[in-house]
Amino acid sequence: MTQTLTQTDPLVIDGIPLGSRLIMGTGGAPSLDGLGAALVASGTELTTVAMRRYSAPAAGSTGGTNLFDLLIENNIRVLPNTAGCFTAREALMTAELGREALETDWVKLEVIADEHTLLPDAVELVEATEALVARGFKVFAYTNDDPVLALRLEQLGAAAVMPLGAPIGTGLGILNPHNIELIVSRASVPVILDAGIGTASDAALAMELGCDAVLLASAVTRAQDPVAMAQAFRHAVIGGRLAAQAGRIPRRTHALASSAMEGRPDL
């Protein structure tokens, strides 16, 4: 079932079909081996890497010795990100670094306001999105769960919008499901729930709210058993996606028996 689902229901971004709607991050992994095992268990086909935290692969690098080799080995597409940038200018330079090193126009744009909340700085984010789109980048914009801002980013040419469920690393889940639903209902680019995921049900909820994909890192890499948690997310995302498409029953105040009482044999 899971195989069929991912084949018939791919996530398409910038014309590229992705078989899994779970996008992974790499931060917080205790070991390279452990990270590799967790990524494989998650079934992800797209993984984001902080260009400021990992040295780019050396030209003609031979050994399977770093994170990028690990991703290539497992056939996982790399989405460079600008984590750690506080200004549009830094984000631009970091994005160019990623494009040059990894030969991809895709970039997950993160412009952070301060290190206590790690929340996006909306003003710098808008400016950086505009500039990166003008330079030909496919921008995956990490944004607040603000329906107005999300739409603005789309209008400026973002390839995908990535509203947060809760601040990065908090594991608090989706704090404002209504806003996420609103963002989804008005978006015509993919909406990827990014940040704040703590456990599998959070990811399932994101998909049920209509998100096209979920991005998470710490929830897996900092779990006690990252491989088991990665499997949990793989299934949760598929479950949430199926539920979103299956048409849930309305919420009722009063009970409604699942089988009607009339016409039952009197045994």
Partner: protein, 411 residues
Amino acid sequence: MSCTVPDPLNAHDLSTDVAVIGGGIIGLGIALQAQRAGHSVTLIDPAPGTGATFAAAGMLAPVSELHYQEENLLPLTLASAALWPGFIQALAEDGYPETGFRSTPTLALGADAADRTALADLREAQTRQGLDVAPLTIREARKREPLLSPNLGAAHLIAHDHQVDPRAVAAAIEARLVAAGAEGQDHTVVRARATALLHEDPFDTRSRTCGVLLDDGRVVRAREVVVANGMGAAGLGGLPEGLVLQLRPVHGDILRLRVPAHLQPLCTATLRGMVRGLPVYVVPRNDGTVVIGASSREDGSAGVNAGSVHQLLRDAQVLLPAVAELELIETTARARPGTPDNAPLLGRVAASDGTEVPGLVIATGFFRHGVLLTPIAALITTQLLAGVRDPAWDRFRPDRFSPALQPQEIP
């Protein structure tokens, strides 16, 4: 034993029983143990003790270093921690007592409620492994360490996690090696860079290793060669064909600070904090300084990172507000040799036919455990030199990431 070396044979060439490439604490420890076992040794390093050893804090902390999914490493770290007191004592008996060994305990501290939960979860895992971790009230912890912030979330006492001063240990071992070197032998420590391994059959890198080529053109002929030069190991010429040493630099920034007289002692135990999810430690030294560390970066940048220094000082002050009063005397960055599973590459190398490459032992990839694992690395290596292989350590074989070598099944 014949040994083919580049022509012409050089009058300056050297000959020894055991050549150890790399004078970090691992190489030094192995050379010392080999010398004690009766071998003549030659340690090859352009500047011994100036790599990761120069940066290391020297915590001997198998309990607080336990990470989820790394339980396989625990028997090795515990065995090595148990060997350290004897290792220190032997050096002292040889006349080298300055090693900075302190048998004071370690306090694991958590800053906020989430850190408290994380430490409690970790304690469960530690206790399941039979390790001794005792919860303290904050008041009890501050009775031991009065300068601790009153504003902490959790404290655990780890009685058996101790420390040494790696710089002092490295200096002591080097001095002992040279003093005990064979009469008239001036090449116990050779300050040159090893560039390649030499083999009995120069066209077969899986034939017996019989020496080391140096960057000054000299050759060290040896019965056994131990490769212990950390990150540099992967770049050596003449490694056995098919051997992949998967090493990557994981840089750490580390600070040294002087404690003014009125704040002495800043702390007596090693303090390991988790501050809003980030690790930081404060290690007190005998000379009244403290070591604060350490970041973990894979950005490939060898210099000291400003953001890491800021973060370490900020988080250390959450544990000990008085850190703000100290004199910052040194910032250092070095690369730890990281492996894919965070465990060392230690042992002999399989040849393709199920035998092992004779004359060669690999001892690198000790990552963040180099100081702790020095005595066990020295013991395992000298056992291998004597033809004794303990299958318990097979899981750390250096060829386990080399598919071409079909490493033996790990039981």
